[in-house]
């Protein structure tokens, strides 16, 4: 067991884990908000995330083809990509809610869940179809933006790329913004009311449908931002990219306490760290017997363990079921 390597790479793995964690955190927000309001897992959220990534890619590719890529400085470029991704993803989320979930409100639990799975599958292939027609390829590569690929040395053995820093910064900004919105504004209060008790909120004069749509919009925008950032960070995307991160992000949301926004953030970072450490250390620790290929199993096992031993998550509140 090479202890010196283990120790030496620790900070870098930490940094990588935090970066990954914030991606999960942003996606987890979408899951947790929808679950808080409708008590349903929005299975299609992974495709909303991917939609953000694809729209961001298309914007960059179109700019690259028209030669405009070089002439716009990096930060405004990022803002454009983010805005496009967020708008597309948010819009898609609202549309999905309207078409596939609203008609099923009040139905037994299984029904909207299955519908969500159906939407998820449909969107995967719909994105593939659109890209096939438009570009005759659906494995897209993000054009590189030089500024973001530079790396900054933090300490001797650790460096972090500008894009990772940007990702973390943007994520934190969004998370803080969201917390403020939900906690301090009137609309936020309305959303919380609907999450608490839909019927009563309606009786209080709140436009329940509108608030639910708003929730989906915000959750979708977060997912879209995560998608665009994911694309810039890791480079290649395809319509099926969203599936595994989606499940992991849901795991993160559960880990932090479903329905709880700071919980989603915490859960995301924790899961990112766990996964990063698992992938980097597993082969070192097991002498090559088990390697990075088991990191997904690790994440799922975490999920099962959390659900068995602490079903409310790290920051969640205990929900007693009245018998």
């Amino acid at each position: 067991m090479e202890w010196d390597i283990l120790i030496r790479i620790f900070p870098q793995v930490l940094v990588d884990g935090v970066t990954l964690g914030f991606v999960y955190a942003l996606i987890a927000l979408g899951y947790t908000m929808v679950y808080g309001v409708l008590e349903m897992i929005n299975f299609a959220h992974s495709e909303i995330f991917v939609m953000g990534a694809f729209v961001g890619a298309e914007v960059l590719l179109i700019m690259q083809a028209s030669g405009a890529l070089g002439s716009i400085p990096a930060l405004p470029l990022l803002v454009i990509v983010l805005a496009a991704g967020m708008a597309a993803a948010g819009g898609l989320a609202v549309a999905v809610e309207r078409v596939a979930y609203r008609p099923l409100r009040g139905a037994p639990r299984l029904v909207p869940l299955i519908s969500a799975i159906g939407v998820s599958f449909f969107l995967q292939d719909a994105i593939r179809l659109t890209e096939s027609l438009w570009r005759n390829a659906f494995f897209l590569t993000y054009p590189t933006i030089a500024f973001f690929d530079e790396r900054i040395r933090l300490v001797a053995t650790v460096d972090i790329s500008v894009k990772s820093l940007t990702l973390i910064a943007v994520s934190i900004l969004m998370l803080v913004g969201l917390s403020l919105f939900v906690g301090r504004t009137k609309l936020g209060k309305a959303i919380r009311a609907v999450a608490e008790d839909q019927a009563t909120a309606g009786l209080m004069g709140i436009n329940v449908n509108g608030m639910i749509s708003l929730t989906f919009l915000i959750g979708g925008m977060m997912g879209g931002a995560a998608g665009a950032l994911f694309g810039v960070q890791y480079g290649t995307i395809n319509p099926y990219t969203g599936f595994i991160p989606g499940i992991k992000a849901f795991t993160a949301a559960v880990l932090g306490g479903i329905g709880n926004i700071p919980g989603a953030m915490l859960g995301g970072v924790v899961l990112g760290l766990l996964e990063s450490f698992a992938a980097s250390y597993m082969s070192l620790l097991s002498g090559g017997a088990f390697g990075a290929e088991y990191k997904d199993i690790f994440a799922f096992s975490m999920l099962i363990l959390i659900l068995i031993f602490r079903p409310r998550g790290l920051l969640g509140e205990v929900v007693r079921e009245k018998l």
Binding site: A100, G118, S120, F122, L133, F250, D296, I297, L303
Partner: protein, 458 residues
């Protein structure tokens, strides 16, 4: 059933009279059969022929006639067509496998209400059980085991251990079902779904990676060759009748009959479960868990039994699948497969046996034949340069081909079914009544709310 106000019987009433129905059914079966025999590669006629089973189900016929009709269709005509066009045998066998899978999942999801999104894991366990022991896989690491039972791929004429392992796989899969059931007993519907999904993925990743440090599954390369059931007796029997046939010709039909037999057993067992106190206990759990507990239903035991029962069907079919394919690898056991089986029972009708059969048949044929045929036809049109509305199909990118969009098809089916007909095409009678009741209740409640609350808050 007489319409008292009509003096002239309606066409429906005429059709209902058993003799007329029997004649109609016979004519239909023989007619479509003749069409298929005449043009072995024609898909629409094949579909019409399969439709005869549906016809037998819906028409009011005496039970003996239905049995004879299905027997003739499935046990005589279908294999006969199979010898004319091997692909039909393949399709029919696949349909049979998925019917059993759908029935298994039906127990877990439809009867017990436990949303299992990782059902393919049990299928994989069964398949790999036979693949590992019925091939030379273990000999790679432990050559000293050679000579013990079917290790080594077996002879080209197969080994009787296949049947033994059908039962072994049932046991192994059932145990796996118990192992999955234990941790998830207390989980609510949506959490259960995600955990079972994770479990399914875990099995796939394990299959993909258990080639080191000890090589059990041979990883992504997969396991081949896999031993098949013995055809020695069959060859002998055919020889006695004077028929020459190579193993390659016998096996497709042989597998078809094995599948038919196993499906028959599965249907019988499911029926028995459904109409027993166990089945009622499951339905009680599905409807209202706290009430079921209050009624004294042993929750833990029933849930575990549901998982184990559903898993065992999948395990048996896994063995058949790996023997038929002669080769398996982890890619056959993805999440898409689990969702495929779920789509089948959603489409057909959760909790209903004919529904599951219909759903499985429909979805499998859709995937295997219809979508592929669309692709091939589209390809022919592309080659011929056909233009639709001025757009020359030859310009259509190769990435676009109907056969690849099965996810989209599943997705659309799931969403549309949930919105318009959540009880499925052939719902079990109980569910049908439930949904009609629920719809009625919803209307009444909506009417009340509109009266008492101002219109803004819907």
């Amino acid at each position: 059933m007489r319409n008292s106000s009509a003096a002239i019987p309606t066409i429906r009433a005429v059709l209902r009279r058993p003799p007329v129905a029997m004649v109609l059914a016979s004519v239909y079966i023989l007619g479509t059969g003749a069409l298929v025999a005449g043009t072995p590669r024609s898909l629409p006629f094949f579909l019409l022929f399969i439709g005869s089973l549906l016809l037998l189900y819906y028409l009011q016929l005496p039970a003996w006639f239905k049995a004879v009709g299905m027997g003739v269709t499935l046990a005589l005509l279908m294999p006969f067509f199979g010898t004319r066009n091997g692909f039909y045998m393949e399709v029919a066998t696949q349909v049979g496998i998925f019917v059993a899978l759908a029935l298994g999942l039906n127990i877990v999801v439809g009867l017990a209400g436990l949303l299992d999104l990782g059902y393919v894991a049990f299928y994989a366990v069964g398949a790999y059980t036979w693949a590992i022991f019925g091939s030379g896989q273990l000999l790679k690491s432990w050559p000293q085991l050679s000579g013990i039972f079917p290790l080594g791929g077996g002879s080209p004429t197969g080994t009787a251990w296949f049947f033994v392992f059908l039962l072994v796989a049932v046991a192994v899969a059932a145990i796996t079902g118990l192992l999955l059931g234990l941790p998830v007993l207390r989980l609510r519907g949506d959490y259960l779904a995600i955990v079972t999904l994770g479990f399914g993925e875990m099995i796939r990743v394990l299959a993909n990676n258990l080639d080191h440090p000890l090589n059990f599954t041979n990883g992504p390369i997969g396991i081949t060759p896999i031993a098949r059931p013995p055809i020695g007796p069959i060859q002998w029997a055919l020889g006695a009748l004077g028929i020459e046939a190579t193993p390659a010709q016998i096996y497709p039909v042989y597998f078809y009959f094995i599948v038919l037999l196993v499906v028959g057993i599965v249907i019988t067992v499911t029926n028995r479960f459904k109409n027993s106190h166990i089945g009622r206990a499951w339905e009680a759990i599905r409807e209202d868990e706290p009430a079921a507990i209050a009624m004294g239903v042993p929750l833990v035991r029933m849930k575990l039994l549901a998982f184990a029962a559903g898993a065992s069907f999948a395990g048996a079919m896994g063995v058949l699948f790996s023997a038929k394919q002669f080769f398996i690898n982890p890619e056959s056991f993805t999440f898409l497969e689990s969702i495929g089986v779920l789509t089948m029972i959603i489409l057909g009708g959760m909790g209903s046996i004919p529904g599951a059969i219909l759903g499985a048949t429909g979805v499998t044929i859709l995937n295997l034949q219809i979508l592929k045929q669309f692709s091939l036809t589209l390809n022919d049109w592309k080659n011929a340069g056909v233009t639709i509305l001025g757009y020359n199909l030859a310009n259509l990118p190769p990435q676009l081909e109907p056969a690849k969009y099965e996810r989209m098809v599943f997705g659309v089916i799931l969403v549309l079914m949930m919105i318009f007909r959540p009880q499925g095409i052939i719902p079990s009678r109980r569910r049908k009544m439930e949904f009609e009741e629920a719809a009625l209740e919803k209307e009444e409640f909506a009417a009340e709310v509109v009266d008492t609350v101002e219109p803004k808050a819907e």
